[in-house]
């Protein structure tokens, strides 16, 4: 093999190595940006206009293992699914403050709420919500029950709720609570009663 060929082959190897490292760097950069975007999503949401409206939140307490009913006033958008999203974001903000009665993953947010027909709500949460959620039967049960109870308390037409993570179905929230099923308002009512 002549020296020139070896040099060319060496150059090609270097280019390939450089391309590989660059591709790997891009992959990491995209992942980082997605994470930052998810964390900033809550702060970047445009505020709704209008007068504050009282809403009911079912707020979980880890130390008491309970779900407490509380009222707060927030500005609600006119559209029904946007209202449901705003109510859930108010619930999440109660969990994200410090000290939190029921910590959930940092940067947790509701990406969207879709209404299917008149009685079914599909709540699309972000990855930070599920990935950072504390693991445990009670901890996850409190989160699911508080989401479903809050949604149905503020929109009595909602009878079934499904929770997605980043647009996809997930087996469990953090290893325990089932996220593959549709939660029935009538069924979750009994769980909420037990937790009060």
């Amino acid at each position: 093999m002549s020296r020139r060929i070896v040099v060319v082959f060496g150059l090609l190897l270097l280019i390939a190595l450089g391309l590989g490292i660059y591709a790997w760097h891009l992959k990491r950069k995209v992942a980082r940006e997605e994470q930052v975007a998810a964390q900033q999503q809550l702060a970047m949401a445009p505020p709704a206009n209008g007068l504050p409206t009282p809403v009911t939140l079912y707020v979980a307490s880890d130390s008491m293992a309970t779900l407490g009913k509380s009222q707060m006033s927030i500005v609600l958008p006119p559209e029904r699914s946007e209202r449901a999203r705003a109510v859930l974001r108010a619930l999440f903000s109660a969990y994200l403050k410090s000290p939190s009665p029921h910590p959930i993953g940092a940067g947790a947010d509701v990406r969207d709420v879709y209404l299917l027909g008149d009685d079914t709500a599909v709540v699309d949460t972000n990855t930070a919500f599920a990935d950072g959620h504390p693991s445990g039967v009670l901890a996850e049960e409190l989160t699911v029950a508080s989401i479903v109870a809050t949604l149905t308390a503020d929109d009595s037409r909602i009878q079934r709720v499904k929770i997605l993570v980043n647009g996809h179905e997930r087996e469990t929230l953090a290893g325990h609570a089932d996220l593959q099923r549709f939660y029935l308002a009538s069924n979750i009512g009994q769980a909420v009663k037990d937790l009060q």
């Binding site: 020139r4 060929i5 060319v8 082959f9 090609l12 190897l13 280019i15 390939a16 190595l17 391309l19 590989g20 490292i21 591709a23 790997w24 992959k27 880890d62 130390s63 008491m64 293992a65 504390p134 693991s135 445990g136 039967v137 009670l138 901890a139 996850e140 049960e141 409190l142 699911v144 087996e171 469990t172 290893g175 325990h176 609570a177 089932d178 593959q180 099923r181 939660y183 029935l184 009538s186 069924n187 979750i188 009994q190 769980a191 037990d194 937790l195």
Partner: protein, 488 residues
């Protein structure tokens, strides 16, 4: 520009494909590195139970965790105190013994006497590890019993005589090889052309004679026994497809020629002649209906890479619940109730697979165990499903199989909660949408323990776990008459 006069196609291919190949290889580098090989393990056989324990590689030397090895054999309280690692162990029906080691030192104390390890003692994540080569002698000293260690096969026999099986070759048409065991066995059987492989994971079987036997037989040509990574394997080779049948209630396995596959339609002769009867040796006896029995199946949640909740940086849910599961099993046994564990070592099982295994075991009751640091005390859960009017005997949908058993599940939960209350343990009975409890076709409860006080580490204390285990067992025993026995 370089000239590629000679071997032009080769160079063109190199120029085009080499960079692409390298890019692909580099991109695949991270996931390839993430795929670790299956961890090595040791299997321990004792008169009460047999179980596997994963090994830890410390500078190329296999180490084994003291908690993982000792916990199934009795009651254990082990904790690090600075560099020291103290453990108090009470074997079933025996008296409490103590041992102490120091991290980074090879000298320790066992039952008050000095004890030298072949290499230094290691502590990782609050757990003590000794070199694998020391475990047999250490257990013999601590338990005052005989042990036998097969280092090549990584099998440890504690107060158990290895069970030697017999090989009895019966020439004939077809020839049969009879494997005789002193008690029933349940190996995994794998067949491939001209070979049957029996893998024994839980049975302490060893070869009675030579590891390899050759037969001068036209069908079965040999049998070889081997041990590796905590399992025993018996390989039987032949000149034609072989099959294995159980006989004598599982104490005998008959290996013989597999029946030829049915001919295709084209090969079938037009007038069907009289069908020859099967030889009596391979005709299975009429199966007797199995007797209903009461089995409690305990499912220690998580395992393997799925650690569950990180209760403290060094205390994981998967370990806490395995220890609790073993205590519940012992408590139930002391009340005369048979109980099995869905996992008895640090292995990961998918949620669906847990439900499949649990339903296949046909238990009278399924108990899932969890641990977390949310709240205080013990929470007893039943499945959050709408009650169904379907009969438990009918066809049950996979996602809502538990719905048919909610009444009985609630009865068990109430009974366990009452026993917890009687022991003054904070408790609550709740509903939860818990996987895989919704798939369980039997009465089912889940018990999640939380620390009893501000000190989170108390969740793993022997005293607290013993109290909880006693309450769970007593609660189950109290409602046993209400739970129907099930045919296996």
């Amino acid at each position: 520009m370089p000239r590629f006069d000679r071997n032009a196609p080769l160079w063109a291919a190199l120029v085009v494909f080499a960079p692409l190949l390298l890019v692909v290889l580099l991109l695949r580098l991270v996931p390839v590195q993430a795929q670790a090989p299956a961890p090595a393990q040791i299997t321990v056989y004792s008169p009460q139970t047999s179980y596997s324990v994963s090994l830890l590689d410390v500078k190329g030397q296999p180490y084994v965790g003291l908690v993982e090895v000792l916990e199934p054999l009795g009651s254990l309280d082990a904790k690090p105190e600075g560099k020291k690692y103290k453990l108090r162990f009470t074997p079933a029906g025996g008296r409490t013994e103590e041992a102490q080691f120091t991290e980074g030192k090879d000298k320790g104390k066992v039952r008050g006497d000095s004890y030298k390890l072949p290499a230094t003692f290691v502590v990782q994540n609050g757990r003590g590890y000794v070199p694998l080569t020391a475990i047999s002698n250490l257990l013999a000293r601590l338990l005052s019993t005989q042990t036998e260690f097969h280092p090549a096969g990584r099998r440890l026999f504690v107060a158990t005589v290895p069970e030697r099986f017999t090989l009895d070759m019966r020439a004939g048409n077809p020839s049969r090889l009879l494997l005789g065991f002193s008690s029933a066995v349940n190996p995994t059987i794998a067949t491939e052309p001209g070979r049957v492989r029996l893998t024994f994971r839980r049975e302490p079987v060893v070869a009675a004679g030579a590891d390899k036997v050759n037969y001068d037989d036209p069908l079965i040509t040999g049998a070889s026994f081997s041990e590796h990574d905590g399992v025993a394997e018996l390989d039987i080779t032949g000149t034609a497809p072989l099959m294995a049948n159980f006989a004598d209630g599982g104490k005998t396995i008959i290996v013989t020629g597999a029946p030829p596959p049915p001919p295709s339609m084209a090969e079938l002769p037009a007038p069907a002649p009289q069908v020859p009867p099967l030889p009596p040796a391979v005709t299975p006896p009429p199966r007797q209906p199995a007797t209903p029995r009461f089995l409690v199946l305990i499912d220690p949640a998580h395992g393997g890479a799925d650690i569950g909740a990180a209760i403290t940086p060094s205390l994981q849910e998967k370990d806490v619940v395995l220890a609790l599961a073993r205590r519940v099993q012992r408590e139930l046994a002391s009340h005369g109730v048979a109980a099995g564990l869905l996992r008895n070592s640090d292995i990961g099982i998918a949620l669906d697979q847990r439900a499949v295994s649990a339903n296949a075991a046909r238990p009278a009751l399924y108990v899932a165990l969890h641990a977390a640091n949310t709240g205080r005390g013990v929470h007893v859960f039943t499945e959050l499903l709408p009650a169904a009017n379907t009969s438990p005997q009918s066809f049950l949908p996979w996602d809502t199989a538990q719905a048919a058993f909610l009444d009985l599940s609630g009865t068990v939960a109430g009974s366990v909660a009452a026993e917890l209350e009687a022991r003054k343990l904070p408790n609550a009975t709740l509903l939860a949408p818990l996987r895989p409890m919704n798939n369980i076709a039997a009465p089912a409860v889940a018990v999640e323990i939380a620390p009893p006080s501000e000190n989170v580490e108390e969740i793993a204390s022997a005293a607290y776990q013993e109290q909880v285990a006693q309450a769970i067992a007593a609660g189950i025993v109290a409602v046993r008459p209400k739970l129907p026995e099930v045919r296996p």
